[in-house]
Amino acid sequence: MYQVSSEKFNGPLDLLLRLIEEQKMAITEISIANVTDEYLQELEKIQDQDPEELSDFLVLAARLLYLKSKALLPYLEQEEEVDDLEKQLKLYKEFVEASKKIASMIKERRFTFSREKAMQQIAVEFSPAKNITADNLKNAFIVVLRRLDPLVKMPQQMIEKTVSLQKKIMEIKEFLKKQGKFGFRGLIESSKNRTEVIVNFLALLELIKQAHLRAKQVDAFNDIIIEKV
């Protein structure tokens, strides 16, 4: 019901797939990494998005940057877990194509129909049931009301201003001007929600990529120290 104001994309994978198809490339790890910048540009344009959905776009952005920054941050390479974005995107594409086939099946209008019992043919007869009691009704209604709660609260969250990636990058630059360096952990802990965690992470990766700052870690379990270059 609360329709997303930007119905341009059916989600982050849809956006990614279109960017790759625009380049007329096959889906490979390389072609995916290659459209990262275009993806981030599109992401900037998406505003007033449902926060849940926006965070899905951001999660994918983080995965793209991770993929792309493997070369820049060689120690990431050592981590054995592989992000199977390529496989996921290929599978997603299969379903996108299947959905087009289903759309054309619907267009053929080969609907089938079941028999309708004509209401007038059935004598309406008052047939109550033992479980119809005032208390049962009241309790059932309370359950219904409770179920609506998250639906009512969600649009209020939407009003919260979206944290913009660009704004975050500026903030970090400003902060570094004054501080010189700071801990990665502190930055993550200062984030108010999942979306902000991801935005902070993205902003950081972007700044490392643009060689504005450098990340240092003494050993695997220590905090990562971010420094101005």
Partner: protein, 188 residues
């Protein structure tokens, strides 16, 4: 295939029809056909259904034909159709009845938004059981509980339901419906 089409029409039709009516309907829909041709097809369909082991029949009285169940199942069918009308209400039916009781008169779209699922079948069942009925306003049906329902609960009107004032106008429900209306999802 004309034969499969006539077979389909006989299936969905709730009342008797005739070869002449069928021919006229088909002609209107761009399938020009003689009544005699329709009669021939009906004879074929009768052979298909009325001979041998079959749960369906095509019966004819004068010009009137109809597809019906076989006589050996008639007792069973009567009971099957009554099934829905007896026994406890399912949780989904009870919930639907509740929303209609506390929020009625209410339209089907509004009811479905509140419950978050399709309610077509359940509404039909509650209607047949005489627990709800409806009023029509501007071509939209609004459902409400029946007098029999109130009597069964031993109350005179819905506002005697427990906590009616508070629950009927629950804040989150009002907000929810307001949003739904803004989003032009439902016509309240």
């Amino acid at each position: 295939m004309l034969k499969t089409k006539i077979e389909s029409i006989l299936f969905v039709s709730n009342k008797p029809t005739s070869a002449k009516q069928l021919a006229r309907f088909l002609a209107r829909e761009g399938e020009a056909v003689e009544t005699s041709e329709v009669e021939k097809i009906i004879a074929e369909l009768k052979e298909k259904y009325n001979i041998g082991e079959s749960g369906l029949r095509i019966i004819q009285a004068g010009d009137e034909i109809q597809m019906v169940t076989g006589p050996e199942s008639s007792e069973l069918i009567k009971k099957f159709l009554k099934e829905d009308m007896t026994g406890e209400l399912t949780p989904a039916s009870l919930e639907t009845l509740t929303v209609i009781a506390y929020r009625g008169p209410i339209s089907k779209p509004a009811l479905e938004q509140i419950r978050g699922v399709n309610c077509g079948m359940i509404i039909r069942n509650l209607l047949i059981r005489g627990l709800i009925d409806f009023v029509e306003t501007n071509g939209q049906s609004y459902f409400q509980v029946t007098v029999d329902f109130l009597k069964y609960l031993g109350i005179n009107s819905v506002d005697e339901l427990p906590d009616y004032e508070r629950l009927h106008k629950a804040e989150n429900l009002e907000q929810f419906l307001e949003k739904a209306e803004q989003n032009k999802i439902i016509n309240l």
